[in-house]
């Protein structure tokens, strides 16, 4: 291991300490060191968005952040969404609207959508489409993903007008 670093990472409100090489991406530390395998890795160069997580509440590509750069920041992954095995509203909407098929891209889309809706709670369907265009899905054709996120946005707006 070249130039090992002892890192303190806050992931889903839990403190973790890991010893990693600087070249380890945040995506790989989440998966291999913290065993949080919900974050998926597709292209490893920032195109597909499968590894999207929230870093200090902003959606980022975990393959384009070195874990050493995330020290002192708060990381949220897909594992933070469900509550004791019960799906979150957004996850349930993906199921209800058939917003997934193979499911590989789903964790990235969920975290991207959480990031987009946190910033634009009033997002229109068009704005949701624009936001979701960051990630790739090879199964659904996207319409059902947009449906799921739009339905969640509407339901959240109704719940907290």
């Amino acid at each position: 291991m070249r130039d090992p670093h002892l890192l303190a990472l806050t992931v889903n409100d839990e403190e973790h300490e890991v010893v990693v090489e600087p070249r380890r991406t945040l995506a790989d530390v989440l998966r291999h060191d913290l065993l949080l395998t919900g974050t998926h890795v597709g292209c490893e160069h920032g195109v597909c968005g499968a590894c999207t997580v929230l870093l200090d509440d902003a959606p980022v590509r975990a393959c384009l952040v070195f874990a050493v750069q995330a020290e002192g920041s708060s990381v949220r992954t897909v594992e933070s969404l469900a509550d004791h095995g019960e799906l979150s509203d957004l996850q349930q909407a993906f199921s209800d609207h058939h917003g997934l098929q193979c499911g590989f891209c789903t964790p990235g889309f969920l975290m991207l959508a959480e990031g987009v809706l946190a910033e634009q709670p009033d997002a229109s369907r068009e704005e949701i489409r624009e936001g979701l265009s960051a990630n790739l899905c090879r199964c659904t054709g996207y319409q059902t993903i947009v449906d799921a996120v739009h339905a969640t946005a509407c339901a959240r707006r109704e719940a907290a007008p």
């Binding site: 070249r2 490893e44 920032g46 590509r61 393959c63 070195f66 050493v68 750069q69 265009s133 960051a134």
Partner: protein, 295 residues
């Protein structure tokens, strides 16, 4: 792929960053700065870039000047760690609103959340929106190096093919945009939204409001994707300088002049003729948007 191994060094202020770059280079290392990393990391993951050491500017986000956006007296100053997204969501004065509007073309939200303005300029991709905007609005890149501060005007910044005038031992501290352009727009075409543009065009129109109806009295035309570096097109600017009523006829003449003046590259994906055609379409579109004000 995974990036090659490197050693990691955190800079705690600008002087520290310059010192680390100098010391590492003296020790035979090949250090590189990382800020947002949205250009560098894909290159490292592909192993197109294999720096032996990274100096992280991340801790400098604590310094207010590094993330500040300040507008005064016709100049907009961006700290070196201002992100694309910070510009996108900022309320900018009229003369610089084009910067916020152009951000929708920069990658996608997750890239814009992390990538920095200064990083994009120093990376120097010939189609990067910030490189065009730097030429459009007379940006000045302020760097600090072992021999002190230096100011690099945009027209001396780009050397082509990812090469810029910023030296390997220099750190950008701020970018100043010194030419407000209330009537300006950027337009581009890529096969998928968020990809690097095949061609992009930025236009600023000088409108003479003293006469009715308004007349064009000059302006700038900047192109990306038609040469190894972003370029201004004097031939097209001459058409604007000759003046006329802002409208399809004048804008078509500007677009034709731009398309005729360039010598775009031919590559297996995109022919020179296609880039020329895109140039004509995009320059006319950017002119129309610029004349129409904010969109």
């Amino acid at each position: 792929m995974k990036p090659a191994a490197f050693t990691y060094h955190r800079a705690h202020d600008v002087t520290d960053a310059v010192g680390l770059l100098t010391d590492l280079a003296a020790a035979g290392e090949d250090p590189k700065l990382i800020a947002g990393g949205q250009s560098l990391m894909p290159m490292m993951n592909f192993r197109l870039a294999r720096p032996s050491a990274l100096v992280d500017l991340g801790p400098l986000r604590r310094m207010p000047s590094m993330t500040a956006l300040d507008a005064e007296a016709g100049t907009l100053t961006l700290g070196a760690l201002v992100t694309h997204h910070a510009v996108e969501t900022a309320t900018l004065p009229d003369g610089f609103a084009v910067l916020a509007r152009a951000m929708r073309w920069v990658g996608h939200l997750p890239i814009r959340s992390r990538g920095t303005v200064a990083g994009s300029l120093v990376h120097g991709d010939a189609t990067a929106e910030w490189c065009l905007l730097a030429l459009l609005l007379d940006a000045v890149v302020v760097t600090e190096g072992p021999s002190g501060r230096r100011e690099i005007p945009a027209d001396e910044l780009f050397h082509g093919f990812y090469a810029t005038a910023v030296e390997p031992d220099e750190v950008v501290v701020e970018v100043r945009f010194t030419r407000p352009a209330p009537h300006a727009a950027l337009s581009e075409f890529a096969r998928r939204h968020g990809d690097f543009a095949i061609v992009d065009a930025a236009v600023a129109l000088d409108l003479d409001g003293d006469v009715t109806p308004e007349q064009v009295s000059g302006g700038r035309v900047v192109l990306g994707g038609v040469a190894p570096a972003p370029v201004r097109v004097p031939e097209a600017e001459a058409v604007l300088a000759a003046g006329g009523a802002p409208g399809p006829e004048l804008f078509a003449a500007v677009a034709d002049a731009a398309a005729a003046a360039i010598d775009p590259p031919n590559d297996p994906q995109v022919t020179a003729a296609y880039r020329r055609r895109l140039t004509r379409t995009l320059v006319a579109d950017a002119c129309a948007q610029a004349a129409g004000g904010p969109r």
